[in-house]
Symmetry: C2
DNA sequence: GCTGGCATTATCATGCATGATAATAATATG
DNA sequence: CATATTATTATCATGCATGATAATGCCAGC
């Protein structure tokens, strides 16, 4: 008892089982209350990977729990707070219409990369790539949609060499890529 | 831009759509990267309620996100911190073998209720019911498994009057219910 | 030993999410 | 106007999660 259940990465299976045992309930008990079957709950608790949120919600209810499902944007691993501040300072001049913030680097990486590719110097590009990490940088490049045809073509070749599939099919003109 | 996405209760649909738009990707883009179909993603973003975690994980990957699924035990609403402290103090004497803590009241409600029903005075029971709230209390009673036959029978009748289905089928003897 | 509840797993039928496709509408650009 | 892309929805076939049931083994108490 009195276990600190503060670990962040618990499998769904583990959470279901632990909660059920904490409440001292049997599979059949929980299943009946949830309006599902004991077989399903047993599968859920033992190595199942394809859950339905519909069933999960019913189970959560029976276990007197809230089901919380969140999409957490992955942080670029190589972007420390310090690096972020540096990047913002260095690249600020390219974001004349809307000031760049540290959060933008993670929340809108595509936006940042587009600007830098389009207007930055070679050293800006190298700087950003180093700060974001090669992988995150190239991924962002691959999904950039608002590049001028010239820029887009250039990077498409680079990406091909890297074996990265580019989701961009054609580039639409925007205010700045004529 | 620069929106504070700190609200806790966002639907899955909303999170998927917002993240996709933040990245500036089309349905087809994300679907292709996720290895799913645009139709499915569109359904996911528009009022769908029965998701498969398998598909959600693939989408999260395509959106450079982590999928976080948690079972959060519901707190008894009428149990403020102050009430918890009071309850712990009042009922402490019934937990001679393992000291009662405030967390136990939420994490192991069944355990607490069993002890109080079995060994507490009438005023203890009234006190706990008031602190937990009628609903939470009766739910815990309904799932209690380790009551003496006498106690169990008595409460089963009470629960029947309240229209609550009791999950308890039979009571197994423990160290204390002979 | 026997008995009863429990957990797990297998099997099978069924219901539902998914994928593929197409039709439609909206938007933006030339 | 035509064109290109996107988003949404409908339809249908298919694959898979689910529910029902049963078989098995385990454990506890008689």
């Amino acid at each position: 008892m009195h276990d600190n259940n503060m670990s962040d990465d618990v499998s769904i299976s583990g959470q279901l089982k632990q909660r059920r045992l904490n409440l001292g309930l049997s599979l059949a008990d929980v299943a009946r209350r949830a309006g599902t079957s004991a077989a399903t709950l047993s599968r859920y608790e033992n190595g199942w990977t394809r859950f339905e949120t519909y069933t999960l919600r019913k189970l959560a209810l029976a276990l007197h729990c809230e089901l919380d499902i969140k999409l957490k944007p992955k942080k670029a691993r190589s972007m420390s707070n310090r690096d972020q501040q540096n990047a913002v300072k260095q690249l600020a001049r390219l974001f004349w219409d809307h000031p760049l913030t540290a959060e933008d680097l993670e929340t809108y990486p595509i936006w940042v990369v587009e600007r830098v590719l389009e207007f930055g110097s070679l050293s800006d590009i190298a700087f950003l790539r180093e700060r974001m990490g090669q992988q995150a940088f190239l991924t962002a490049v691959a999904t950039a949609q608002r590049l001028s045809p010239k820029t887009a073509n250039f990077w498409q070749n680079i990406l091909q060499l890297e074996g990265i599939i580019c989701t961009k099919k054609y580039s639409r003109n925007t205010a700045w890529n004529s």
